[in-house]
Amino acid sequence: MTIWLSIEGKKRRVDLPSGLVGGTLECSVDGSPFTADVRMLQPGVMSLLIGGRQYRCILDGDAVLIAGQRFGFEVDDPRSLQGRRRAGAGSEGPRAVKAPMPGRVVRVLVAVGDEVAEGQGVVVIEAMKMQNELKSPKAGRVVRVAVAVDDTVGSGDVLAVVE
């Protein structure tokens, strides 16, 4: 099976033999062959032996950790490509202000219909004794305020939309 990845912004093609993930596998990365001894230790933890070198690899969300270093990756497929195109839409169309972390809303600085400048504070959320002011990604009009003071929000939740 072929897997397309973006690692730290770089496109990579990995071919793996079909069948179980484990044991000695003949793989290739961008066409160059690799023999890897693969052992899944527990979900998200794997030991790789390649040419005698041992790598303990750990999956953490959208990154792999190897030897104390973190490498972000993305699996490339049509859907995530589309998602990225949407995210990179610049100042065209409505843009959401999202919570970068879980927290509690302590202040809402705008109301629907307000004109805001790019970088203007929209909502203040607090977590772990730290307050963070979330700013408008673009100049425009607030078309939606999705939260109220004292609401608990999760990471990535939409707080407001600016059009």
Binding site: V14, M46, L65, K129, M130
Partner: protein, 506 residues
């Protein structure tokens, strides 16, 4: 007078609550935990003999409710309360309330806290004890005019500080007289918001100071020991990030001078139990009194490792009325210890806090490693409290050895599911200036402002990009198979995986 302590209530949470529970257990003393609704499954609760609910998650309705805590102490028959650090630990009213209720408060008496806990009063006490301090006012400033007069007298740059402050709140550096008025108003209102008192004082700004503090332990019989120093110059926004003992720049003579000055101050205020006197030290080895912390501190483990003493055991013995079991000449420092404070925050995204579910935890072990930690895989780090997850401490014969050991331990350490600052420490510990101990309280902010350089360990080969790609692909493939173990339609499952990944990202 000897008192017996059979059962201790720990009025705290997190790693410090667990640290105290362990100390009690080692001495055969019973333990009572208290918890908020967010902490029912917290590690400190799981390690205690008894546990009682205080209230909802916000600290003001749980860990700061001294009245409820005293009620629990009575209900459980606890004869002493250990306050840990933060929360009620430096609250003189609470210490008095414990005494009035016939419960031993494991810490200084309320009277000593009142003298040394307020920064302006402590500065007056420091003057009385003949201790050098940073030039500036010893009382709160009445208004901008007084601030201007004092600042003019000592010369710019100056620092405005909240009398009741801590943690960097209510502080403003001012370099020019024109800026003083605005900074005074801002510092005062921030202090009022954070500490309930708008009292602000002013002192000369010492340029590039090191933060060095002396650990004290005093008994009820008029004896007080200094247990060496800790250097805590690696700070971000006035919060300590790395602490070590001993300091690379403190000589035997300087240690003795600072230690004796700290002891004089503590004895002058009738201080009992563990406490810390903080100093700023300039490039010429002048030291200036900064403030006194009237509690056991976060970074106490580095002192424990280099002195071989258990500070929690000593605290308990002192609270039972026992005299200190050793004399100043018996205190000997050996080796070097470094502590890293592991926080749930994202150094790559403005240090945003990162509470949430810990999905995986691989903790370092091996020679010279101690970890004071209160999280586990499956624990959801609540968003209501301080972001500290753990304190990782490395001990070795030399400073260099301790640094190398810490780098090794951090490589072993994995916390999955939430973001942490583990990666940041690697950068600091491999930095040439840190390794040469060229540090001051502005060091870390300067390092963070500089572009990141490669931090591959010199002896290890860098991980090849091909290996990273292979590992990522194997994980992706294994998730696909878990998601759809029965079907052979790999394309479909990949869509499912993509959908789930997208879903998680929303």
């Amino acid at each position: 007078m000897a008192k017996t302590i059979r059962k201790v209530l720990i009025a705290n949470r997190g790693e410090i609550a667990l640290r105290v529970i362990r100390g009690c257990r080692e001495m055969g003393i019973g333990t009572v935990a208290v918890y908020s609704d967010a902490d029912r499954a917290a590690l400190h609760v799981l390690h205690a003999d008894e546990a009682y609910r205080l209230g909802p998650a916000p600290a003001s309705e749980s860990y700061l409710r001294g009245d409820l805590i005293l009620e629990v102490a009575h209900r459980a028959g606890a004869d002493a309360i250990h306050p840990g650090y933060g929360f009620l630990s430096e609250n003189a009213e609470f210490a008095d309330a414990c005494a009035a209720a016939g419960v031993i408060f494991i810490g200084p008496p309320g009277s000593a806290m009142r003298v040394l806990g307020s920064k302006t009063k402590a500065r007056q006490a420091a003057d009385a004890a003949g201790m050098p301090r940073v030039p500036g006012s010893v009382t709160g400033l009445a208004d901008t005019a007084e601030a201007l007069r004092v600042a003019g007298g000592i010369g710019y740059p100056v620092m405005l500080k909240a009398a009741a402050g801590g943690g960097g709140k209510g502080m403003r550096a001012v370099t020019r007289a024109e800026d003083l008025s605005a900074a005074f108003t801002a510092a005062s209102s921030e202090a009022l918001r954070s500490f309930g008192s708008g009292e602000v004082y002013l002192e000369k700004l010492i340029e590039r100071p090191r933060h060095i503090e002396i650990q004290l332990m005093a008994d009820e019989h008029g004896h007080c020991l200094y247990l060496g120093e800790r250097e805590c110059s690696v700070q971000r926004r006035h919060q300590k990030v790395i602490e070590e003992a001993p300091s690379a720049v403190v000589s035997e003579t300087l240690r003795q001078r600072m230690g004796e000055a700290a002891v004089r101050l503590a004895l002058s205020a009738g201080y009992v139990n563990a406490g810390t006197v903080e100093f700023l030290v300039d490039a010429e080895e002048n030291f200036y009194f900064l403030e006194m912390n009237t509690r056991l501190q976060v970074e106490h483990p580095v002192t424990e490792l280099v002195t071989g003493l258990d500070l929690v055991h000593l605290q308990l013995r002192v609270a039972m009325g026992e005299p200190l079991p050793l004399k100043q000449q018996d205190v000997r420092l050996r080796g070097h210890a470094i502590e890293c404070r592991i926080y749930a925050e994202d150094p790559e995204n403005n240090f945003f806090p990162s509470p949430g579910l810990i999905t995986m935890l691989q903790q370092p072990t091996g020679p010279g490693i101690r970890e004071d930690c209160a999280v586990y895989a499956g624990w959801r780090v609540p968003l209501d409290y301080d972001p500290m997850l753990s304190k990782l401490v490395a001990f070795a014969e030399t400073r260099e050895g301790a640094i190398d050991r810490m780098v090794r331990a951090l490589e072993e350490y994995v916390i999955g599911g939430i973001k942490t600052n583990i990666g940041l420490f690697r950068r600091i510990l491999l930095d040439e200036d840190f390794r040469a101990a060229r540090i001051d309280t502005g060091y870390l902010e300067r390092l963070l402002a500089a572009p990141a350089i490669s931090t591959d360990t010199p002896q290890a080969e860098p991980v090849s990009e091909d290996v990273v790609a292979l590992a990522a692909a194997l994980f992706t493939a294994s998730t696909v198979r878990e998601a759809a173990p029965k079907t052979e339609a790999a394309t479909e499952s990949r869509w499912a995986v993509a959908g789930r990944r997208e879903g998680l990202r929303l």
